[in-house]
């Protein structure tokens, strides 16, 4: 066992899979000698060579496009987009090709690629470096969207993403990259995709979050516990396809649900979860479902980013409001 930060866990997962599967290769900007701007690919070019850890020209749409071509011919490319603010040119390739190549050819050609990107706000980064676009990708049939919330989940879920026969968008919360370390076995064991994790059991309310927001959510759970409120916390982990059953089981038990995400509120992925609960668990509810999301504003430059990211206080306040009257 080693104590690893999230970015180190990503690095170990990439190294592990490259060592056991020679069809895996990494492409992206500055990922070679530089090891990536966050060092996620640190040392991998020296170990696996320039042909398998490829510094690309600065062209995100092209990176996603060549990854599709590589994957269609049997490679398993893991493409790094330097920041999510630069991920938007990949959307053309992801929605028009990566997500539907299998369907368009009746399974003749497939697209086992991973599109990795640092994701979210909270590290005092420059403009266009702090976005949370998971809902855009979650709206694309044929994709998987996976967001780890800890080093161990980053390791296990990234291994699973690389082993998945279909395209995966893997969003790595930037502010967790070096926030804390955790024991990670580095034993090549993957974690299941398409499954939520119950990170904390409780009986009074269900808190649903993913990625970096798991930090504030778990902290809020601790604070609420001191007030005598016992909350369950679910780490969604795979946004698409959504393991709604785990969420429904929890909501049926607690009768209350607060959904937390860092992306703007309107048409954020929380809306999808709330709609599923409304359709399938309405009569288990003791209070309205609440969302605690970023405001419907442009992600601000960093002086205001702490006011943009949903805070522990906002989450706790929402939980208290759904507990009222009980």
């Amino acid at each position: 066992m080693a104590e690893l930060s999230l970015v180190e866990a990503v690095n170990r997962a990439l190294a592990c899979e490259m060592a056991i599967d020679e069809s895996v290769l990494l492409i992206g900007e500055d990922i070679g000698a530089n090891g990536g701007v966050f060092r996620a690919t640190n040392g991998l070019q020296a170990r696996f060579g320039k042909d398998r850890v490829v510094d690309t020209p600065l062209a995100e749409g092209g990176i996603a496009g060549v990854a599709v071509g590589m994957a269609a011919m049997g490679l398993k490319p893991v493409a790094e987009i330097q920041f999510t603010g630069f991920i938007y040119p990949t959307i053309d390739q992801m929605i028009n090709h990566a997500s539907r190549l299998r369907n368009r050819t009746r399974g003749r050609l497939t697209c086992p690629m991973v599109l990795r990107s640092p994701y979210g706000a909270g590290i005092h980064a420059p403009e266009h470096h702090s976005e949370s676009p998971e809902a855009l990708f979650a709206h694309m049939p044929g994709l998987r969207v996976v967001i780890p919330s800890s080093p161990a989940r980053a390791y296990g879920l990234l291994l699973a993403a690389m082993r998945d026969p279909d395209p995966v968008v893997f969003l790595e919360p930037t502010r967790l990259y070096r926030l804390f370390k955790q024991e990670v076995a580095d034993d090549g064991e993957s974690l299941p995709l398409d499954a939520c994790f119950v990170s904390r059991e409780g009986k009074d309310a269900t808190l649903v979050a993913w990625g970096a927001m798991m930090q504030e959510t778990l902290a809020a759970a601790d604070a609420l516990e001191r007030e005598g409120v016992d909350v369950e916390v679910i780490d969604v982990a795979t946004i698409k396809p959504l393991d709604v059953e785990t969420i429904l089981r929890s909501v049926e038990k607690t009768g209350r649900c607060v959904i937390i995400h860092e992306a703007p509120r309107t048409a954020g992925f929380g809306a999808e979860i709330a709609a599923e609960i409304a359709e399938r668990a309405l009569f288990s509810l003791l209070a309205p479902v609440k969302r605690v999301a970023a405001y419907d504003v442009v992600v601000p430059l960093y002086r205001l980013e702490r006011q943009y990211i949903p805070s522990l206080d906002r989450i706790a306040d929402a939980v208290r409001s759904v507990m009222e009257g009980s």
Partner: protein, 363 residues
């Protein structure tokens, strides 16, 4: 020389046959009469197919269709220069090339007739399907070529794009990567003069589109795209070069879209009919026929026999297409993922429940 002087590379047009079908330079050794006859048959098959496909569309038996009328030499000549193990990354008007690669006419009709099974090619199983979002296929070609280079596989990728497509950043990004990585790929620009209603001059100010390769260190050549011998020989050399590890080539083929953009388009709204009439005197099939007849290897009898043969082949394909029953609603779900995630299984059930009880045939 001032800063207003434009510097353009001098790129000559490669041509062997004049529009009248007369040799303007000796045929290259790679182009035998036997090969020319085979190319002639392939171009005629494509044109016969196009005529039938448009007729089917006009009578409500086929969806929107993009004809290759007038551009047969580009697809046929380029595909004939490929080995079977090579890979094609087409645009959406390249069935001339795809037929040479082994795609059946019935598959082509199924695709334009609204059925994904048309892209499940029985032959050339690694070829990419048609690509409608303009210029997105170019990166696929480069990525595929990278895979072959990495695995030291003896395969080359040939990809097609239109003149309008070269204005798209996706073309340029991928071309640039191919130059850096020296991937075994050949980019064929099918310059048919028109991007729907936008003429070539409004797409780009450069004298040639071939010179777009120059800026990224990729050799750029221009051929008379209505001279199938020029297309074949030039692509063959570029394929050989790619196979030999010498990297990519851009080949601009000058041709003309004699038909509408698609059956949903009416080119008389934006195009001078005199221009179209002039271009009919330069088209590739009559040109090669004149040459072959002049050489004494083709005749009115062989032409009649070929026409009959093509018509029979097309009619058989139409029958096969029309006999193909529509897929069930499950077909929307079955190839979405390797295994349909449990989250979407209920949706497949709903689609089954609400599927029309009796489906009609195609058309």
């Amino acid at each position: 020389m001032g800063i207003h002087t434009s510097v353009e590379p001098d790129i000559a047009t490669i041509r062997f046959l004049t529009p009248e079908g007369v040799l303007c330079r000796p045929m290259p050794p790679s182009v035998s009469d036997e090969l020319l006859l085979s190319l002639y048959r392939s171009m005629t098959r494509t044109r016969t197919f196009d005529g039938k496909a448009i007729a089917l569309q006009r009578t409500g038996q086929l969806g929107t269709f993009a004809s290759a009328l007038g551009q047969e030499a580009v697809g046929v000549g380029a595909a004939a220069a490929m080995a079977a193990r090579d890979v094609l990354a087409p645009s959406y008007r390249d069935h001339g090339a795809q037929f040479v690669r082994g795609m059946s006419m019935a598959e082509c009709l199924l695709y334009w007739g609204g059925d994904e099974r048309g892209s499940d090619f029985a032959h050339s199983r690694l070829d990419f399907p048609n690509c409608v979002p303009v210029a997105t296929q170019i990166a696929h070609a480069v990525g595929a070529a990278y895979a072959f280079k990495l695995r030291r596989e003896d395969r080359v990728v040939v990809t097609f794009i239109g003149d309008g497509g070269t204005a798209n950043g996706g073309f340029y990004e991928a071309l640039n990567m191919a130059g850096v990585w020296k991937t075994p790929v050949v980019f064929v620009i099918n310059n048919n003069g028109w991007a729907i209603s936008t003429p070539r001059a409004l797409e780009c100010a450069a004298t040639t589109l071939a010179q777009k390769g120059v800026a990224v260190g990729v050799e750029g050549l221009q051929v008379d795209g209505n001279d199938v011998a020029a297309v074949y020989d030039t692509v063959r050399q570029a394929v050989d070069k790619a196979r030999g590890g010498q990297g990519p080539t851009v080949i601009e083929a000058l041709t003309y879209r004699l038909g509408d953009h698609t059956t949903a388009d009416d080119a008389t709204r934006y195009r001078d009919p005199d221009q179209v009439r002039r271009e009919w005197s330069r088209e590739p099939i009559a040109r090669l026929r004149a040459y072959l007849i002049g050489k004494g290897v083709w005749s009115a009898d062989s032409e009649a026999a070929l026409q009959q043969q093509c018509l029979e082949e097309v009619n058989q394909a139409v029958s096969a297409y029309q006999a193909t029953q529509p897929a069930s609603s499950d077909a929307m779900f079955d190839y979405l993922y390797a295994t349909l995630p449990p989250a979407y299984v209920p949706q497949r059930e709903i689609a089954r429940r609400f599927a029309p009880s009796a489906g009609g045939g195609h058309g």
